[in-house]
């Protein structure tokens, strides 16, 4: 791949890759490091990829595997029993537009890791659900199931964020007009 092609690839993919990394790693520094590491791996190994149309999938897959590999080194995943991790459907939907980006990201980062990766990929709109299944190496049904449960978790956390935000709004009593003396 030529220098110009590589620069184009970076220009197209670094922002969505960073956002995906940020949802996974919960730290801006780690997300930036993961994104850079992914492109460095591409620079050293990506030349093996003959089909350049697969570059985007390669980058997201590599970033996700790099994240998992780092996580394994740091701490073992809690054994989340996915089949039992049921989330009740929310009858009230949070008002996403009323929340700021930080609150949205925080809520997303609080979603259990197995649900978080497909959820972020879904919202980034970079991949079809079939591609998400390939990228995470799980069946299509599992992607649907994890998205469904992930959304339920996300909504619950966003509602909590919304409640906290609402509590911060202090209502002031309108000042009474001063009585004039004399």
């Amino acid at each position: 791949m030529s220098e110009a092609d590589f620069q184009q690839l970076v220009a197209r993919q670094y922002a969505p890759l960073y956002r995906f990394a940020l949802s996974l790693s919960k730290s801006e520094a780690d997300a930036a490091d993961l994104t850079q590491q992914t492109f460095f791996l591409w620079a050293s190994k990506g030349g093996q990829l003959r089909d350049r149309s697969k570059a985007k999938s390669w980058l997201f897959t590599t970033l996700y595997r790099e994240f998992l590999s780092r996580r394994r080194r740091e701490v073992r995943f809690p054994n989340v029993e996915l089949d039992d991790a049921r989330e009740e459907e929310m009858s009230i939907l949070p008002n996403v537009n009323a929340l700021d980006g930080v609150s949205i990201l925080q809520a997303l980062q609080e979603v259990d890791e197995p649900f978080r990766a497909p959820l972020t990929l879904f919202y980034l709109e970079q991949f079809s659900y079939r591609e998400i299944a390939d990228l995470l190496d799980v069946p299509i049904g599992t992607v649907m199931s994890r998205l469904s449960r992930g959304k339920a978790q996300l909504r619950r956390r966003l509602l909590s964020q919304q409640e906290i935000a609402d509590q911060k709004i202090v209502s002031f009593q309108p000042e009474k007009p001063r009585e004039s003396h004399g």
């Binding site: 670094y14 922002a15 620079a43 093996q48 003959r50 697969k54 980006g101 469904s148």
Partner: protein, 247 residues
């Protein structure tokens, strides 16, 4: 389809997105059109998803990230300057001359010559020093091409190998033994290679039918025989990784 099933499917639907024309959604979408309660849930869900996408896209990326990637990648990429090219070429020629003198002595006795040659062929393909004879992401097409060209070709791909996307194939001859290589892309971005050879029945180095694992440098290999064809599967990685493609 009941509403619960419809919701399960529609949760993945993005209007106008890559999946919009997927027939898997059509029944669930029809159900939503018929059922006002489901339709209301669906429109609210879409509005929620759209807002989430907009918020996620608005997350700012560190201003220096792009420059850092480009600067870091320069030192990570293989060196390609003209001087370095000549230096590498000179080093390779020297290695070929002097290395070949000690190669035969140092080579593990249990890996046959055509197998070592196949690993060299694969390495040169990976380094872009040679090119494939045929390229396709469909391994069946490559197998058909090999058969049409009277090269050794597997009747059936072993285990999980058939699930991988192929890249291309190459044929060569080693001491009169016809050999073919098919390269596959692994999900982790690495490669795995299936080598097929028509080793003569009389050959003393003809492998057994049971798979035999051999490590050579970074290469993990497994060799077995089916009928007149001998196969070797090879990857740069562990024996366990290799075994997973035989299952």
């Amino acid at each position: 389809m009941d509403n619960r099933e419809a919701k399960f499917i529609l949760n993945v639907y993005r209007p106008g997105g890559q999946d919009a024309s997927d027939p898997r959604f059509s029944e669930a979408l029809d159900q939503a059109r018929r059922d006002p309660m489901l339709e209301r849930w669906f429109s609210e869900s879409i509005a929620f998803d759209t807002a989430m996408t907009e918020k996620l896209r608005a997350i700012e990326v560190p201003p220096d990230l792009r420059e850092n990637i480009l600067a870091g990648a320069k030192v990570s990429r293989p060196l390609r300057s003209p001087f370095i090219k000549w230096a590498i070429a000179a080093a390779l020629i020297s290695m070929a001359i002097f290395g070949s003198l000690i190669w035969h002595a140092a080579r593990p006795a249990h890996l046959a010559g055509w197998q070592s040659q196949a690993l060299d062929v694969v390495s040169s393909l990976v380094r872009n020093e040679s090119s494939f004879d045929a390229q396709s992401h469909n391994a069946d097409q490559l197998l058909a091409w090999l058969r049409a060209n009277h090269a050794p070709a597997a009747q059936k791909l072993p285990g999980n190998l058939g699930k991988l996307e192929s890249i291309g194939c190459k044929t060569f001859s080693w001491n009169g033994i016809p050999v073919s290589v098919i390269c596959f892309m692994r999900p982790d971005g690495g490669l795995v290679h299936l080598v097929s050879a028509n080793v003569p029945t009389s050959s003393a180095r003809r492998p057994k039918t049971a798979p035999g694992f051999v490590r050579q440098g970074e290469w993990a290999t497994v060799t077995w025989r089916e009928g007149d064809t001998t196969y070797m599967l090879a990857l740069e990685g562990s024996r366990d990784q290799l075994r997973s493609y035989l299952l």
